[in-house]
């Protein structure tokens, strides 16, 4: 091996402090008499300095913040029956493939969230709801699992609830495992309603909620 090639290897490792004592001594002796290698040492030190400053560990809390604030994404494909879309009283927004208003420059502020507990009609079900301000509407992120299988003319519907008043956030169906992760919209007025519920509906055209409540919970301000 060419001597300078070998010393260039040693120079590179010297920057990292990875030379054995005898290698360091040999290199220092060589540098005393070699201008070319002294210039190379200077250049490699600059590269080393740039690389050392190239990465600085961010504060540990930052990762938790980044991961917690990621927009929800649908994890499974899901279908909405044509009868739901034909129901004029329902407000349904379906987003698939990772397109979110956040990337279009809109700003959203987390407003409230709710953990949904099952009723006796769906004992194995659970759900999480997150409501965010989005101007004239609120954006609703819903994540459910364990819901019973639906008949072909049925769907589930998410409601904002205050006493006897209801505002629908939209309808959805679930996959074979009773799960769904969906994004919906609702009028901003719904944000004032303190509770949420999910009912099991038939596509009869009646916009009123059925008595078949499967999940419910109280919204907590965040």
């Amino acid at each position: 091996m060419d001597d300078h090639r070998r010393f260039e290897d040693l120079l590179a490792l010297r920057s990292l402090g990875e030379l054995e004592p005898e290698e360091e001594l040999e290199l220092e002796r060589h540098l005393e008499g070699c201008v070319r290698c002294r210039d190379e040492a200077e250049a490699l030190d600059l590269v080393h300095d740039e690389l050392r400053g190239f990465s600085v560990p961010p504060p540990p809390y930052l990762k938790d913040r980044v991961m917690a604030d990621l927009p929800l994404r649908p994890r499974r494909n899901w279908r909405v029956p044509g009868v739901v879309l034909a129901a004029a009283a329902l407000l349904v927004v379906l987003i698939l493939g990772g397109v979110y208003a956040q990337f279009l420059g809109q700003t959203e502020t987390p407003a409230s969230s709710a953990s949904l507990a099952p009723t006796p009609l769906a004992p194995g079900a659970s759900g999480e709801v997150r409501v965010e301000d989005a101007g004239a509407n609120v954006r609703v992120s819903l994540d459910v699992s364990g819901l019973p299988e639906l008949h072909p003319d049925e769907y589930y519907e998410l409601w904002f609830v205050e006493g006897g008043e209801r505002i629908s956030s939209g309808g959805f169906t679930v996959d074979d495992e009773g799960s769904a992760a969906v994004l919906m919209n609702a009028p901003a007025a719904a944000e004032r309603y303190p509770s949420m519920g999910i009912t099991r509906e038939e596509s009869s055209g009646d916009p009123r909620p059925s008595p078949t409540k499967v999940l419910g919970g109280e919204l907590q301000r965040t």
Partner: protein, 182 residues
């Protein structure tokens, strides 16, 4: 590492795998944060940069084309674009006695021109996957050559040879012959 990065991006794009994003965060957040500190001179804005970049990676994973750029270069470009926006925000802030001072990083001046920082990322992106891997483990993870050898399962002599070769390649790209003084 390039193949692993490609697999992680695909998992994010196709199934919204936040575990994959977590792994990419561990690999690249330090690079983005350092860029933020250097270019923006403000820890809060550097944190915003990290958050913006990884939110973009999460949402735009489907648009990453490995035939056009390495993941290092793609993330770097996202960070560069976002840092420009954040820099406008920084400049719009009125100066005050309570402003956080610029951060002085070990190994360099307190501030660097954008072009100088670009050189490091671009030089890294030109390296082979093996070379990128050993430099990433040495400088981003702070592993010794022996630790790197154990981690990637190759002899210590091979790691040293790769590292030396990678550093020489970086030197040739960043400081062409005759420009050792910058």
């Amino acid at each position: 590492m390039r193949d692993e990065d490609g697999a992680l991006i695909r998992r994010i794009a196709t199934s919204g795998d936040d575990g994959a994003l977590s792994t990419l965060y561990d690999r690249y957040a330090g690079m983005v944060y350092a860029m933020g500190l250097r270019l923006l001179g403000d820890r809060s804005l550097a944190e915003d940069l990290v958050q913006d970049v990884f939110t973009s990676v999460w949402g735009k994973a489907g648009s990453f084309d490995p035939s056009k750029a390495s993941l290092t270069t793609w993330i770097y470009q996202i960070a560069r674009n976002r840092s420009t926006d954040l820099d406008r925000r920084r400049r719009a802030r009125p100066a005050s006695a309570g402003s956080e001072p610029l951060v002085f990083l070990a190994g360099g001046e307190g501030t660097h021109h954008l072009a100088e920082h670009l050189d490091v990322a671009e030089a890294l992106s030109l390296l082979s996957p093996d070379h990128q891997e050993v430099l990433a483990l040495a400088y981003l993870k702070g592993l010794s050559q022996r630790e790197i050898a154990l981690k990637i399962g190759v002899p210590l002599g091979t790691v040293k040879s790769r590292t030396a070769s990678a550093l020489r390649a970086m030197r040739r790209t960043m400081l062409p012959e005759g420009n050792a003084n910058g």
